[in-house]
C-alpha cells in the first residue's frame, strides 16, 4: 500500500505541509478563501522540530491499528488499508489519542475539541493525492509504495 513517508534529512520545518493539509481538507478550491473565511481544517499532519532535526508526523495507517481497536464509538474503521474517521460517530473520548503510539490523532480544536480528526491520505477530499507530499517544497514528504504490508 502507498503511504506517506518523511525523510527527516530533507525536512526543512517550513510547515507548508500543514498549510496544504488544512487547505485540502477545507472543501474550498481557493486557499486564500479557505483561510480568510476560517474554513481551513485542522492540519492532520504536524511538524515536530527542534535541535536541527524536523520531521512531519501523520497517521501511519498501521496494519493492526490500536486506535481502531480502542474506539468506543465505532468511529474509526479501516477501508482498503486507510484508517478513516466518521466524525458523526466520534464522541470525543480521546481514547484513540491516548492509544496512538505515534501521536497522530489530532483533536479538532476548530469545533472545540468535540471530535478528533486524522489523516486519511486525502482519499476523502478533492486533493487527488496526499497534499502534503504533492506540495512539499524539498520532496522530503513522499507518497510511495515501500512494500511494508
Amino acid at each position: 500500500m502507498k503511504r506517506v513517508y518523511v525523510n527527516e534529512d530533507r525536512c526543512l520545518g517550513c510547515h507548508l505541509c500543514e498549510t496544504y493539509c488544512a487547505f485540502a481538507n477545507s472543501g474550498e478550491t481557493d486557499m486564500v478563501k479557505a483561510f480568510k473565511t476560517g474554513k481551513d481544517a485542522v492540519p492532520r499532519i504536524r511538524i515536530e522540530e527542534g535541535d536541527g532535526i524536523n520531521f512531519a508526523v501523520q497517521c501511519r495507517h498501521c496494519a493492526d491499528p490500536l486506535c481502531v481497536k480502542g474506539c468506543i464509538a465505532g468511529a474509526l474503521s479501516v477501508n482498503n488499508g486507510v484508517i478513516e474517521i466518521n466524525h458523526d460517530k466520534c464522541v470525543g473520548c480521546y481514547t484513540c489519542v491516548l492509544s496512538c503510539p505515534y501521536g497522530c490523532i489530532v483533536i479538532d480544536y476548530k469545533n472545540g475539541g468535540r471530535t478528533v480528526t486524522k489523516c486519511e491520505l486525502c482519499t476523502r477530499n478533492n486533493a487527488g493525492e496526499p497534499a502534503c507530499a504533492a506540495n512539499c517544497i524539498n520532496r522530503a514528504i513522499v507518497f510511495e509504495e515501500r512494500g511494508e504490508d
Binding site: H15, L16, K36, A140
Partner: protein, 501 residues
C-alpha cells in the same frame, strides 16, 4: 545609533488580502526579513535585511509576496549613480573592501548579443536533428599533427590523454566550501549521468564523491587545498588554476565561518581558519615554471590524465595562451570577466579583465597563426548563458564551454549576489546545515541533467539549421557568425563579418 546614510535596497510588498499568515516566509528567510507580530496579527517585514533572493516569493503558497527595488531615489546624477553613492557610504561606515558575489553585473557590452548565427537556405539544406544523426561528442586534449607510422609500417595509434564529453558543456569549477555538499553532489551526479565533467574547484574533493571520479576534474590552485596523491589519481583530468575571470590577479578567500568540520578535512586546513589562496602560485613565475608544475602533475599521475590550465581573460591573453600551449598543457580554459565567484572584491570584479568573446577569438586566432592550435583544446568560460552563447563560442573557436552560473540557476539560485554572506537561502552557497538541507540533491541533480540536455537539444537544432551535423564542423567556423552593431575593430578581433556582408 548614528544616521544610516542609505535606505533599504529592496521593498517587500505583501498583499495582505492574500497573506494567510502561514509564516513559511518567516521560517525560510535566513536574513530574518519576515516576522509575525501577534499584536497586529500580521506579518511584518524588515526590508533593510532583504537581499532579493526570491526564496519567500517562490514558496509563498498564496502568491502574496513580491520583492521590488526600493523606489526611494537620491537626486539623479548621470555620473554618481545611487549605487555608487551607497557603496561609498558603506565603505565610510566599515572602512573595508567591498565584497560581491557572482558575475560582473555592470552595463558592459555583451558580445554574444551582438553576434548572429547563420542558417541554410536552398543551396545547402538544413538538417533535422530529430530525423538524422547529429554529433555533439567532443574530445578535449592534444590532437595529433599528422599520421605517424611505426617501424613495421603500421599506423601509430598512440594518443595523448583526453577527455570524452557527450556534449560540449562542462560544469565550471566551484569549490566545496564556496558551495554546499548537496550542491556538489548534484553536480557530480549530473555530470556522471550526462557523460560530461564537473570541477572540484580549489577546495579538494570530499571523500563521499570519490565514486564520481571518472567525471571529475580536480583542480590545483595556488592554495593547494586538499591536493594529495589520491585526489590527483581520482580525477579524470587535473586543472591548474592560474586565474579566475571574476577576479583576475587575486586569489580566493573563503571565510573561516564556512570552514566547518567536513570542509576543513577536505581542504586539509584547521577548522574556522580563513582559507586564503595566494594571488600567484608561489612556484610559478614563468611559462617554464608552469611547465614544471604541469609535468610534475603528469609524472605523479603516470601521464594518464590531461592537464588543463585555466587563466582569466586579460589584455594579453593570446600571448599567455600561446605560452601555455607550448608548456605542455593539454587544454586551456579561458575565463571571461563576467564569470561568477563566491566572493570577490567588487572593484576587481567590476573593472578587471576582458570579455570572453574577444579573448576566445584572439586566442584561437593566435594559436592558429602559430600552427599550434592542435596542441591544445580550448574551453571558454565566463558567462555562457544559453545554448546560443555556447554555439557562438564554439564557432569562435572553443572546443567546449564551462557553465557555472546556469548550473546554479538550475539549483535555484536567483543571482542575488550574496554568496559571500554564507546565508544562501537556496542551500547552495552556504555551509549552515539547516540551509544546506534545502537543496535536495535528488531534485538538484535531475534539474541539472534536464538543463544540459535541453541545451544540447538546442545546440543540435541550431547546428541543423546551419546544415552542420557535427560539433567538429562548427568549431572555429566563424563564417557561420555575423556581427551586428559592432565597429570594424571589434569585428576584426572577433574575426567575423558584419551582418549583410
Amino acid at each position: 545609533m548614528p544616521v544610516n546614510f542609505f535606505p533599504a535596497e529592496f521593498e517587500v510588498v505583501r498583499n495582505s488580502d492574500r497573506c494567510i499568515k502561514c509564516r513559511a516566509c518567516e521560517r525560510q528567510c535566513s536574513n530574518e526579513v519576515h516576522i509575525y507580530d501577534a499584536d497586529f496579527d500580521k506579518m511584518l517585514s524588515r526590508d533593510n535585511q532583504c537581499v532579493d533572493c526570491q526564496r519567500c516569493v517562490s514558496i509563498c503558497p498564496v502568491s502574496a509576496l513580491k520583492i521590488v527595488p526600493n523606489e526611494n531615489a537620491f537626486r539623479k546624477s548621470a555620473n554618481y549613480s545611487q549605487q555608487l553613492m551607497i557603496e561609498n557610504y558603506r565603505q565610510a561606515g566599515s572602512g573595508g573592501v567591498l565584497l560581491s558575489s557572482m558575475g560582473n553585473p555592470q552595463d558592459y557590452p555583451v558580445y554574444w548579443d551582438k553576434i548572429l548565427i547563420n542558417a541554410s537556405q536552398v543551396t545547402n539544406p538544413p538538417i533535422d536533428p530529430l530525423r538524422e544523426p547529429m554529433e555533439t561528442k567532443v574530445f578535449l586534449g592534444k590532437k595529433p599533427a599528422g599520421i605517424k607510422k611505426n617501424p613495421d609500417g603500421s599506423i601509430d595509434t598512440h594518443t595523448e590523454p583526453y577527455l570524452e564529453l557527450n556534449m560540449p558543456i562542462l560544469f565550471s569549477a566551484m569549490s566545496y566550501g564556496s558551495i554546499s555538499k548537496n550542491a556538489h553532489e548534484s553536480l557530480a551526479r549530473a555530470a556522471t549521468e550526462l557523460g560530461t565533467y564537473y570541477n572540484t574547484g580549489e577546495g579538494g574533493l570530499h571523500k563521499d564523491f570519490y565514486q564520481y571520479g571518472k567525471n571529475t576534474i580536480v583542480q590545483v590552485a595556488s592554495g593547494r587545498f586538499g591536493v594529495f596523491k589520491d585526489y590527483l589519481d581520482t580525477g579524470a583530468a587535473i586543472e591548474i588554476k592560474m586565474g579566475q575571470g571574476a577576479k583576475p590577479g587575486i586569489g580566493g578567500h573563503l571565510p573561516g565561518a564556512k570552514i566547518r568540520e567536513d570542509v576543513s578535512k577536505t581542504r586539509m586546513i584547521p577548522m574556522g581558519t580563513d582559507a586564503i589562496s595566494p594571488a600567484p602560485h608561489h612556484d610559478i613565475y614563468s611559462i617554464e615554471d608552469l611547465r614544471q608544475l604541469i609535468f610534475s602533475l603528469k609524472e605523479a599521475t603516470e601521464y594518464k590524465k590531461p592537464v588543463i590550465v585555466k587563466v582569466a581573460a586579460v589584455h594579453n591573453v593570446a600571448a599567455i595562451a600561446s605560452g601555455i600551449a607550448r608548456s605542455g598543457a593539454d587544454i586551456i580554459a579561458i575565463d571571461g570577466f563576467r564569470g561568477g565567484t563566491g566572493a570577490a572584491p567588487t572593484r576587481i570584479r567590476d573593472n578587471v579583465g576582458i570579455p570572453i568573446e574577444l579573448a576566445l577569438a584572439a586566442v584561437d586566432q593566435r594559436l592558429r597563426d602559430e600552427g599550434i592550435r592542435n596542441e591544445v583544446s580550448i574551453i571558454a568560460a565566463g558567462s555562457v548563458r544559453s545554448s546560443a552563447d555556447a554555439v557562438k563560442a564554439i564557432a569562435l573557436g572553443a572546443d567546449a564551454v564551462y557553465i557555472g552560473t546556469p548550473a546554479l540557476l538550475a539549483l535555484g539560485c536567483h543571482l542575488c549576489r550574496s554568496c559571500h554572506s554564507g546565508k544562501c537561502n537556496w542551500g547552495i552557497a552556504t555551509q549552515r546545515p539547516d540551509l544546506v538541507k534545502r537543496l535536495n540533491p535528488d531534485v538538484g541533480y535531475q534539474r541539472l541533467v534536464n538543463l544540459v540536455n535541453a541545451w544540447n537539444h538546442e545546440i543540435k537544432e541550431i547546428m541543423g539549421g546551419m546544415g552542420i551535423n557535427s560539433i567538429e564542423a562548427l568549431r572555429g567556423n566563424r563564417l557561420m557568425l555575423r556581427g551586428i552593431g559592432l565597429s570594424q575593430k571589434e569585428l576584426d578581433i572577433l574575426g567575423i563579418l558584419h551582418a549583410g556582408e
